[in-house]
């Protein structure tokens, strides 16, 4: 069935009977050429286009991390190496009052907690946890950190399934986030940052950050952090093991 330009125009301005309009809509479904004709005739499209096309007036600002390397990087190592922008994502997720009233630049632990607060069971449900993928991730993370992550100990954490080791960066310092799923599939994280020689040792400090139970400590130039899935998560079991495992 062919339609004249007049008929198509009558459809576009709403002057066709329902039956005729329905016939055009059915025909378009199977006829891309008719679709193109209809779009070209539409008197509303250029008007709306003219109004919106100039928006936004200035190029929008986007805060993206610099490319780490010019060469293509393997997928497993390149995923989510983006802690620096995690705070930007969090603009959406964290209340504006928090940002307006925060007193000082945030430390790595606070930023890591914000980042982790964006994790949902979905985030970790689809990760590639094959031994090969984890091998690549751990090799990369340990190389950047300059120390072992004691993978066997992490894999043996009771009630935890190891999901991924991800190399991030905080103010130029390598920061590794190891993500687990707990028995309920909730995300749980252990982070290690290389702070450098001379960084002060700190005893374990437990706090709720970004709505998540956390424990942080520092020893021999490395900072450590455990992040639970909620403010109620009991970290003690893992904490005992990890403070012993990462005793220096």
């Amino acid at each position: 069935m062919t339609f004249s330009d007049e008929t198509l125009m009558a459809y576009l301005v709403g002057n066709l009977e329902e039956v005729e309009a329905g016939a055009i809509e059915s025909a378009v479904e199977a006829d891309p050429e008719l679709e193109q004709r209809l779009m070209a005739l539409d008197p509303f499209a250029p008007v709306v286009h003219g109004v919106f096309d100039q928006l936004p007036a200035a190029a929008p600002q986007i805060d993206l991390p610099d490319p780490l390397t010019a060469a293509p990087v393997p997928p497993a190592g390149s995923a989510l190496r983006l802690l620096a922008v995690a705070a930007s994502v969090a603009v959406v997720a964290v209340s504006a009052t928090f940002w307006a009233t925060r007193p000082a630049p945030m430390g790595w632990a606070q930023q890591a907690a914000i980042y982790q607060s964006l994790y949902a069971p979905d985030t970790i449900a689809v990760l590639d946890t094959s031994p090969e993928a984890l091998d690549v991730q751990f090799a990369h993370a340990e190389e950047r950190l300059g120390r072992s992550l004691n993978r066997e100990a992490l894999e043996a954490l009771p009630g935890m399934e190891l999901k991924r080791a991800q190399t991030l960066s905080f103010k130029g310092k390598p920061l590794v986030q190891v993500v687990f799923a707990d028995a309920q599939g909730q995300p749980f994280a252990f982070c290690v940052i290389r702070q450098g020689e001379g960084a002060p040792n700190k005893d374990v400090n437990e706090a709720v950050l970004s709505g998540l139970a956390t424990a942080t400590w520092a020893q021999d130039g490395f900072g450590y952090m455990l992040i639970g899935s909620s403010d109620q998560t009991d970290l003690d079991g893992q904490l005992d093991i990890l403070t012993t495992t990462f005793a220096g």
Binding site: F44, V51, S88, V91, V92
Partner: protein, 200 residues
């Protein structure tokens, strides 16, 4: 004769700006995504505006979309329509993470303040008309608004918009028909004004 790979030609055809592309070689998916972000940031922002009805939320949606896209660059299998991919991510973030908060807030706000987004030019009558069209579009229901933005402003075909919004093509057409009926009022009103001004 072009030495570009078919995929690279396709990227170029879609006006995707690709950085560090070397002839005969493959660009990394991260490079392709970064290029797409640069090229399409304004349209993603506009889509964010259409979804949320608020320019500050559009800012946040664009930022989140770009970060999410970079995180997922390794999932990209075709560089063909990275613009659609970015739009899909933007809409997913809107629906799953932002909408419930923003809609509550938007109910307390008039849409009108956003009309100041319209650039002020020398012709105030044109500006008034543009502001009226802008306001009318922004007052459409969200489903019509997102469809109008994709088809009228960004030039997606009905079937492309249908795929992006995951609805039948007939739904796209009926949304556009309903939107046209509302826009018609503004456009006819303006045409009548123009007639009076010119003494006809």
């Amino acid at each position: 004769m072009s030495v570009l790979t078919p995929r690279a030609r396709s990227v170029k055809n879609k006006h995707t700006q690709v950085v560090n592309y070397s002839m005969g070689g493959e660009i990394s998916s991260e490079q392709a995504v970064r290029g797409a972000i640069q090229t399409h940031s304004r349209r993603v922002w506009r889509f964010g505006l259409a979804l949320s009805g608020a320019s500050d939320v559009a800012d946040d949606l664009l930022q989140s979309t770009c970060v999410r896209a970079l995180e997922r660059h390794h999932q990209v299998t075709s560089y063909d329509r990275l613009d659609s991919w970015l739009m899909t991510i933007c809409r997913s973030i809107w629906l799953n993470e932002v909408r419930s908060r923003s809609v509550r807030r938007a109910q307390a706000l008039s849409v009108t303040p956003e009309a100041e987004l319209i650039a002020s030019g020398p012709d105030s009558e044109t500006n008034i008309y543009a502001a009226e069209v802008f306001t009318e579009v922004m007052q459409l229901p969200e489903a019509q608004r997102e469809t109008v933005m994709l088809v009228f402003v960004e030039g997606y075909s009905y079937r492309e918009a249908a795929a992006l919004l995951e609805v039948p093509i007939g739904t796209i057409m009926s949304r556009l028909s309903n939107a046209r009926q509302k826009l018609k009022t503004v456009m006819q009103h303006d045409a009548a004004d123009a007639g009076r001004r010119s003494g006809k």
